[in-house]
């Protein structure tokens, strides 16, 4: 059975299933309840600033669904400590930009405890966070900072491109025994599709070939998968067969799927919503020119945002974001 759900709805469902099946799973964050149950005074809940977690405090109560103060170090750090001592917390970092106020527990604690302790602890923490631009939320609420969490050994980073994957990847992330950063790209939160009911997981670390093709590989993830698909259609019209690889996980990275596709096509474009320096796009290009050198028939192209903050004005924000046209231009430049 399946019904139409938005990505937000699919995420909500995944959390509910995880909480029903494991009493050690809790949800904590700023306004994840957002009113409701807390005082039984007749007020209603908001369920998060984007409404994603609505209904959960009603089902699971305030012991397991906790509104926190606006204190990201404390909130994420506490979740890390809870994860190391027997809970399996889902902590919400409202926007990924707030890594600024929550980095230490991720950079220096969650990611390193197991290693520093010689393998004698595990940290089964999931941090859900909204990434990306497109809502005119400007420079401090629009960043795609998954390259930072990907670069930190000890963390995993996952990013779905559609509601079905969001549900399955989130369930896998929550049940994973390592700390996982789960990105919810703004560009897909309101996207809807049929989503299977019930409990299913999509394994971390495995890419998904969403379109087969033979002339060029378009590697994408999160909100850029849609751009890649659009570009692939346009390329098809021009007689070029594009394969689209949806990474799903950024760490672990499915090198094998990327290289297999490159072997098939000989050409690679990586489409990444973030800024270019030290990006996932460039990271993958480096993998291609090391392990896939013999397959390369053309320069590897990275389609990313420019090396700038995210501008507010809609015209500038649209120019900032990578587009299908940028992908076509990149393919054109490959010669």
């Amino acid at each position: 059975m399946s019904r139409i759900l938005s990505t937000g709805g699919a995420i909500n469902e995944a959390i509910a299933i995880a909480m029903r099946t494991d009493p050690t799973v809790i949800l904590m964050g700023e306004d994840v309840a957002g009113g409701g149950d807390r005082s039984k005074d007749g007020t209603e809940e908001m369920g998060g600033v984007l409404g994603t977690t609505r209904g959960l405090v009603g089902e699971f109560g305030m012991n397991r669904v906790r509104d926190t103060p606006i204190a990201e170090m404390g909130l994420i750090g506490t979740a890390v400590g809870a994860a190391a001592t027997g809970l399996r917390p889902i902590a919400e970092l409202m926007f990924m930009d707030f890594l600024g106020t929550s980095l230490d527990p991720l950079l220096n604690q969650a990611s390193k405890l197991r290693y520093m302790f010689g393998g004698k602890v595990k940290v089964p923490l999931t941090v859900r966070t909204v990434s990306g631009a497109g809502m005119q939320a400007a420079a401090q609420h629009s960043q795609s900072l998954y390259w930072i969490t990907t670069g930190i050994p000890g963390l995993k980073t996952v990013i779905p491109s559609n509601p079905v994957d969001a549900k399955g990847l989130l369930l896998a992330a929550i049940r994973d025994d390592d700390p996982v950063i789960f990105c919810e790209p703004k560009g897909i939160l309101n996207q809807s599709s049929e989503v299977p009911e019930g409990d299913y997981e999509i394994p971390l670390g495995k890419a998904n070939i969403v379109r087969e093709g033979s002339d060029v590989s378009l590697v994408a993830f999160g909100a850029t998968v849609r751009i890649a698909m659009k570009a692939a259609k346009a390329l098809e019209g021009a007689g070029t067969s594009a394969e689209v690889v949806d990474l799903r996980s950024l760490s672990p990275l499915d090198d094998e799927a990327i290289l297999t596709s490159l072997e098939k096509t000989g050409r690679m474009v990586i489409i990444d919503e973030s800024t270019p320096r030290c990006s996932i796009a460039r990271d993958i290009a480096a993998v291609c020119v090391d392990k896939g050198f013999d397959f390369l028939q053309a320069p590897v192209k990275c389609v990313t945002a420019p090396h700038t903050p995210v501008p507010f004005s809609a015209v500038l924000e649209q120019a900032f974001l990578p587009s299908a046209q940028d992908v076509l231009d990149a393919v054109g430049q490959m010669g």
């Binding site: 103060p69 400007a138 004005s313």
Partner: protein
């Protein structure tokens, strides 16, 4: 009271300008004419205007995601603000900042700030500049009750107290951080109680009463200017709209909201007190209302007609100079 009629009229004009600006934005955003996240200041006008009336242009203020009121109070041009919110190149920030980053450093306005608590150390740094260079300026940091739970609040106030910096920390306690009531996440009765962690002076003002804010801010600012260090000034207030435009406020108690909005409106309170002083003509207030309304209509018209930034501007203003 000690204010002349024209002074009172000017104060009223500022408060009314903020209110009308926010009401206009509520319309524009609801109608989909302006995008982005929009947090309105309506209800809190007495604080921005009361504090800024004690400041010189070269004094610095820093603000929050709810920053339009502080801009208007510090003298930022309303038309340029409106143009900014429309994302135009004539905006205060050339369309690159928007509501959460609106700024005008020439007016001593060091920016709204999208990071809760993020403006507090910046303003502390402005006070450090004044102290190191031996300038007479003070700096004022505005922030909400929720922001006092941020580490940046704690660290900044610690530094300011150690160094006796010329800064005033103004907490606008409007009873909520987003949808969560303050008492649920702030474990003390008054935000002012938190000053004792820094051995800092603390004062509580009625944030709906311009005169109370004006007086207490004046004392704190004068002390800072004399080199007697920082003060934490808590102003009790309420925001009349939801957290952002679109928020239907199901989480708030309806009677309580009614009480604040109907009976504690800072503009009404000001008008009553100012009228009692007998130095402003009764119809003066309505005349100002009309002028402000006209100004805002003009601001919207001009903003809508103003040019958008050229696409090349995505790439400018990142660095003063960048050569690879």
């Amino acid at each position: 009271m000690g204010f002349t009629g024209p002074e009172l009229a000017e104060i009223y004009r500022r408060m009314r300008t903020i209110r009308s600006f926010e009401e206009k934005l509520h319309e524009l955003v609801s109608a989909g004419k302006i995008g982005g996240f929009m947090h309105l200041y309506a209800g809190q006008e007495a604080i921005a205007v009361g504090v800024c009336a004690q400041l010189a242009e070269a004094d610095i203020v820093g603000s929050t995601h709810r920053g339009h009121g502080h801009c208007v109070a510090k003298g930022v041009d309303v038309k340029a603000m409106m143009a900014e919110l429309f994302g135009r190149s004539t905006g205060t920030n050339r369309g690159k900042g928007g509501s959460m980053h609106i700024a005008d450093i020439d007016k001593g306005m060091l920016g709204a700030n999208g990071i809760v608590g993020g403006g507090i150390p910046l303003v502390t740094g402005a006070a450090l500049t004044a102290q190191v260079l031996g300038r007479e300026n003070v700096a004022v940091s505005f922030f909400g009750d929720g922001a006092t739970n941020q580490g940046q609040f704690h660290e900044s106030l610690t530094m300011a107290a150690n160094w006796e910096l010329p800064v005033v920390y103004v907490c606008e306690n409007n009873g909520f951080g987003e949808f969560t009531p303050t008492e649920f996440v702030v474990p003390v009765k008054d935000i002012a109680d938190r000053a004792s962690s820094y051995g800092m002076r603390a004062v509580i003002a009625d944030g709906m009463d311009f005169f109370d804010v004006y007086e207490k801010a004046g004392e704190a600012i004068a002390l800072a200017r004399k080199g007697e260090g920082p003060t934490l000034l808590e102003c009790k207030t309420y925001r009349f709209y939801g957290h952002y435009v679109g928020d239907q406020t199901p989480y708030r108690n309806k009677e309580e909201a009614e009480e604040w909005i109907q009976n504690r409106d800072p503009l009404d309170i000001f008008e009553t007190k100012a009228s009692e002083a007998g130095v402003v003509e009764p119809d003066e207030f309505r005349r100002i209302d009309g002028e402000v309304a006209a100004l805002l209509n003009e601001a919207v018209e001009e903003a809508e007609a103003a040019p958008l930034p050229s696409i090349a501007e995505v790439l400018t203003d990142v660095y003063v100079r960048y050569e690879g």
